[in-house]
């Protein structure tokens, strides 16, 4: 009997070891890759200019630690606002089935860093558009589907995200599914999105417009002058359907103090859009610059020298704060890319893909700290 007991005990120990080994291996297999990243305690942005913002590019950033580090660096630079893209096609891959995992991760880390998130909504999923069309192509019969997504997004992020942008640069053909641009069509989309957003959260701020600054001539197949497009939006009854005008304010080769002119793309063109708002009885609404800035690529034709870019950028933040009381925030393009684009776009960034701060980052930080 003792012999049997000993045998059973030995076998039991052997099996226990095997089970333990199996459990470890199984744990390794199902464990998430990379270290566990904690959101961390809430932080506060220290800045002399609470209107400083940037457009982040975290949509395709997979690793949570990189998302967190990016947003930490935004705060450490002294920026309080971020614009981030939350593609409809990523969150609702099948009609009515939403996955907010990645969006939650970005928003939660941003809030922990003390940042205000402006969510840019767009990107049509395959199921909501005809085959062989681009992800900016949304047929009018599916505007309601986009409205449903807006409702779901606003409801899900109620209490966390208080600003949403409806679509991006609808005055460019490529952003309107490579069709002729259609201000009246965009207003129809805006109405549906606005109603759904307010139904989900009456306090959410709906940003309309987000027009590309362009001097496209009348009848151009590529786009429509943003000043013309905005007036056509008002003519189509857009006024009650946005709370804030989103503006893209690129400087190209001009300094931020260059005067606004209808035949020039520069930072102060924002004032011309503002004039159109006032003319249409919308002067009480604020503007938020959700894209903009300067580029210092050595050979892009619209680029400036790196030193000019730094001076212009700091001055732009300062100008908006001091001279444009109707401008709530200036979110410049683009804080960091997940990986180098290897195009002139890399020269819009403040931080390299591997988190090395560029001199412009340090200069904005110095300004934000009042040094």
């Amino acid at each position: 009997m003792t012999k049997w007991k000993q045998l059973l005990r030995r076998r039991g120990r052997r099996w226990a070891k095997r089970l333990a080994l199996f459990a470890v291996l199984f744990g390794l297999l199902i464990a998430p890759y990379g270290p566990v990243v904690l959101v961390g305690p809430p932080q506060i942005v220290q800045t002399r200019n609470p209107g400083i913002g940037v457009h982040t590019r975290l949509t395709d950033e997979v690793e949570e630690r990189k998302i967190k580090r990016t947003l930490e660096m935004v705060r450490e630079m002294g920026a309080s606002w971020i614009v981030e893209y939350f593609p409809w096609g990523y969150s609702e891959r099948k009609p009515g089935r939403f996955n907010w995992d990645h969006a939650d991760m970005v928003v939660d880390h941003a809030l922990a860093q003390g940042l205000t998130v402006i969510a840019r909504l767009g990107f049509v999923p395959q199921w909501a558009r005809p085959k062989e069309t681009f992800d900016t192509f949304l047929p009018a019969e599916n505007f309601e589907c986009f409205g449903d997504y807006v409702y779901a997004f606003v409801e899900h992020f109620r209490g966390r995200v208080a600003h949403i942008i409806i679509w991006n640069e609808p005055n460019l053909s490529l952003e309107w599914g490579y069709r002729p641009v259609d201000p009246e069509g965009y207003v129809e989309l805006l109405k549906i999105a606005y109603d759904q957003a307010k139904a989900a959260n009456p306090d959410v701020q709906v940003l309309g417009g987000a027009l590309a600054p362009t001097l496209a001539p009348s009848g151009s197949e590529w786009g429509m002058d943003d000043l013309v497009f905005l007036q056509r939006m008002y003519d189509a009854g857009a006024a009650p359907y946005f709370d804030v005008l989103a503006v893209h304010a690129y400087g190209w080769k001009f300094p931020p103090d260059a005067p606004a002119e209808s035949d020039a793309v520069n930072f102060a063109r924002t004032e011309l859009l503002r004039e159109i708002m006032v003319r249409n009885g919308d002067g009480h609404k604020p503007i938020i610059i959700t894209e903009g800035g300067w580029n210092d690529h050595p050979r892009w034709t619209k680029a400036v020298r790196p030193g000019q870019r730094m001076t212009y950028t700091v001055r732009a933040y300062e100008k908006a704060q001091q001279e444009w009381d109707w401008c709530q925030a200036v979110c410049l393009w683009a804080f960091r890319y997940p990986w180098p684009a290897q195009t002139h776009q890399d020269y819009f960034t403040f931080v390299s893909a591997d988190f090395v701060p560029k001199p412009i980052y340090l200069e904005v930080q110095r300004y934000a700290r009042g040094e």
């Binding site: 790196p306 030193g307 730094m310 195009t343 002139h344 560029k358 001199p359 340090l362």
Partner: protein, 293 residues
């Protein structure tokens, strides 16, 4: 009586018997010897297959064949970066890269057709078969080495440490301890200068709005060295004397010719031509023509 034919048949049947015994699968037994021979044969087949496939694909280069057949080499270029490429008053491309393409084409006995393409779209033009090659002051991007093939470099445009003529005690960045370093504010030179100052806190960093100003400071004795790119240095030396680069580039930016990945013979021909042009002194002459040195 055993004829020669029947002996042959017997030998053949013996051979087949041995073969069938060796490979008999019924009853199947995996002897060590059989396993080894099978593995060796399989490996041999794979190696021969791979070699044959590679040689077949190596010899196939439709881009090169088309260039030879048509006598025209389509070169993609963004003519907005003088002195490498720009348009003259008649709208014709001119510059270092234009002359380089012409020189390579002359080696092959073909004509060049320049295709104007925006810089960001140059490599896409190769993939879309809008150009056979790209010559446009194009730096190597290692991330795209699977998508395009790069030639040997023909020009180094990287970041250089520049000192005044006659300076003998600065040969590397570490020799700048306790000295003044001029950079273009916000440039790659500035980034590297700040990095250097983290290692050597007593380096004084002097920012200037333009690389030419940083070099002027070196000539004037206001700075002990400057970190500028090789193109700015060459352009400065067109009109000034008194500075020269020391050491290897701190950040290397080699300009290369890009060709489609599936054009190995074209790549080989480009590389051969570049080596020949360098040996003949033609690349040096191009520098003299376009940078006046």
């Amino acid at each position: 009586m055993e004829t020669e034919e029947s002996r042959g048949l017997k030998e053949l049947s013996g051979l087949m018997g041995r073969f069938s015994r060796f490979w008999s699968i019924r009853p199947f037994r995996w002897s060590r010897k059989r396993a080894l021979v099978t593995t060796a044969l399989a490996l041999l087949l794979v190696v021969v297959g791979v070699l044959l496939w590679r040689s077949a694909h190596r010899s196939e280069d439709r881009v090169w064949e088309r260039i030879q057949r048509s006598g025209v080499w389509r070169v993609g270029m963004d003519p907005s970066f003088p002195p490498f490429e720009s348009l003259d008053e008649n709208g014709r491309p001119v510059g270092y890269d234009v002359d380089l393409a012409q020189a390579i084409a002359t080696c092959w006995g073909v004509e060049v057709s320049f295709e104007g393409i925006g810089f960001d779209g140059l490599l896409a033009a190769l993939w879309a078969d809008k150009a056979d090659s790209v010559i446009s002051a194009l730096p190597v991007d290692p991330r795209l080495a699977r998508d395009v093939a790069y030639s040997v470099p023909y020009f180094e445009a990287g970041l250089l440490l520049v000192v005044a003529e006659g300076t003998t005690d600065i040969a590397a960045p570490d020799d700048l301890a306790g000295r003044r370093l001029a950079v273009e504010w916000g440039s790659e030179g500035d980034v590297q200068g700040r990095e250097l100052r983290r290692r050597l806190p007593d380096v004084s960093l002097l920012p200037f709005p333009h690389p030419q100003d940083a070099l002027t400071a070196v000539v004037a004795g206001e700075a002990d060295g400057a970190l500028v790119d090789a193109i700015s240095l060459r352009q400065f030396r067109q009109q000034h004397v008194g500075v020269h680069a020391v050491g290897a580039p701190l950040v290397s930016v080699p300009y290369v010719v890009a060709v489609p990945r599936h054009a190995p013979r074209l790549l080989e021909a480009v590389n051969d031509a570049l080596v020949d042009l360098r040996e003949e002194g033609a690349l040096q002459r191009l520098e003299e023509t376009w940078f006046g040195q």
